[in-house]
Amino acid sequence: MALLEVDKITTYRGSQKVLDSVSFSVEEKKIVGIIGPNGAGKTTIFDAISGFFKPGKGRISFERIEITHFPPHRIAKMGLGRTFQIPRPFKEQTVFENVLLGHLMSRPRLMDPDDVITETNIILEKLELSSKKETLAGELTLSEQRRLEIARALATNPKLLLLDEVAAGLSPAAIDRLVNLLKQLNSQGMTIVIIDHFLNLTIQLASNVIVLDNGRKIAEGRPDEVLNMRIVRDAYLG
């Protein structure tokens, strides 16, 4: 069953088309990559799915419920978590509080505080942030901030995770650890969509890749197939 369905969405910024009739679907428990050159419209797709940028045409469904015109907080509560390309932690809160916020705000009611704290600690452990618990999020390194983004999104208990360039600017060793983490999450049943301009993660993780160029979907398929297509090479090499 398709967890997420994007059906012919077209978005405008002023009179310019940013996305032109883009469709794709994401099956449950899969990892899908979205790739394409700068300005192709990758982040705009995430903004449309998470409710920040309403498409002019087309519809988006999550778990067979149309969410095209739902406000962002409602979409988040339905189980859609996302991270941002440039990490946006709550800088003046500690790492622990950042993750706690994700937990507190996504649940319909306040859970037992002991459970909240235990779960927050488990997520910090998973993202290797336990030792930074009491550090202010604004003082973290880039790699740590990216992991904090994922941790905060995980704390909202999502069914689908949208990751925007989580690997950009990380060292090869850090990327390896990230790949393992995402594999582990996926094996536990998490569906993931990754935007990955530099193709750091897609090749190792994605079962399906969508290629965007100039707001249009130009190719879709298995990573090894797609990357050998002439049209994709042309788009990247310009």
């Binding site: 920040f52 962002p72 907080h73 409602r74 946006r88 709550f90 003046e92 809160q93 705000m105 704290i117």
Partner: protein
């Protein structure tokens, strides 16, 4: 209860802080016993409590990142609402102040809806202009408000065993209302509601992606803030006995809570109260005797010192973490 447990987990020094603040408030309740002869001290302290309550209301909204320059609108409407209610329905001030609070809350909710899309300086400017609307109405609806002649003979507070409208009555009314408001604000800021405000202030977009309903939280926060300011206006009206439009819808009541909250520390629950007490006492006991004409220069100085040297205010200097769950 769950909220308190969570706060205790996150905030080890919570109990000592609550104890200190409770002790201090109890001490203030005892002041009249010791200084009953000095009516001037009682008057100054009463004023500082009223300003503290107004600053707390202002700061609740500021906690969400919305800086208001228009709390005089809620203050003034509270004053008029309560005075008119008491005069027309012949009720006790303790009843009518609720009408004043409600009037402030309704105007605040209305402006919250009207300005829902405004942020930062745009929101501040819109609220600055907002004050003119109720002021114009109060000035021109002569059959109801007597226009610029103002309302007279507003009934004073009466407490058993104490002379009506004595300094002691006003002192006790102001201190009690400050205590209640402080309790309400402390509970809000330590609950999920408070956490949502902290998140919204730092990054609204991210807050929404973790499930925070920005419009809802901003609306209830501005309403409660307007309610608090309305109650303050109402108490003011019944303490003074006379109000007119230019007096209550005055820039004074928009700027003062901002200066006091910033000076005391707007990231701390107790900060606005500390700021109000310190500034009012300094003003009345130090600056007033030295510069009778220009004593209000103190407020200008306070805001300059705060912005330049202590962005976290006095409570920030005492080690309160800037955006944390500081204060009690």
């Amino acid at each position: 209860m769950k909220v308190i447990t969570l706060t205790l987990h996150l905030h080890q020094r919570f109990f000592p802080k609550v104890l200190t603040v409770t002790g201090f408030i109890l001490l203030l309740f005892l002041v009249p016993l010791l200084a009953i002869q000095s009516s001037f001290l009682l008057q100054v302290l009463s004023t500082s409590f009223l300003y503290a309550a107004l600053s707390l209301s202002w700061n609740l909204l500021a906690y969400s990142g919305h800086i208001s320059l228009g709390h005089a609108a809620f203050f003034g409407l509270g004053a008029y609402g309560s005075a008119l209610f008491a005069l027309n329905f012949d009720t006790d001030p303790f009843t009518s102040i609720w009408a004043g609070g409600l009037a402030g809350a309704l105007l605040a909710a209305f402006s919250g809806i009207l300005f829902a899309r405004l942020r930062g300086a745009y929101f501040a400017l819109a609220t600055l202009a907002l004050v003119e609307i109720p002021k114009m109405i109060a000035d021109n609806w002569v059959s109801l408000t007597r226009g610029s002649l103002g309302l007279l003979n507003i009934p004073p507070f009466k407490l058993p065993l104490i002379n009506a409208n004595s300094n002691l009555t006003i002192y006790l009314v102001n201190l009690s209302s400050l205590t209640i408001l402080l309790l309400v604000v402390a509970l809000i800021l330590n609950s999920r509601w408070g956490w949502a405000l902290r998140a919204l202030r730092q990054d609204e977009k991210v807050s929404m992606t973790i499930g925070i309903n920005s419009n809802f939280y901003t609306l209830i926060t501005i309403s409660v803030s307007g309610f608090g300011a309305g109650i303050c206006g109402a108490i003011f009206a019944h303490s003074i006995g006379i109000i007119e439009p230019g007096m209550v819808f005055s820039l004074h009541y928009s700027a003062l809570p901002m200066v006091m909250a910033l000076f005391g520390g707007r990231f701390s629950v107790i900060g606005p109260v500390v700021g109000s007490l310190v500034l009012t006492l300094l003003d009345q006991f130090v600056f007033q005797p030295i510069f009778p004409a220009g004593h209000q220069i103190l407020y200008g100085l306070a805001i300059m010192i705060t912005i330049l040297f202590m962005p976290g205010g006095l409570m920030g200097l005492l080690g309160a973490r800037k955006h944390g769950i500081t204060g009690s």
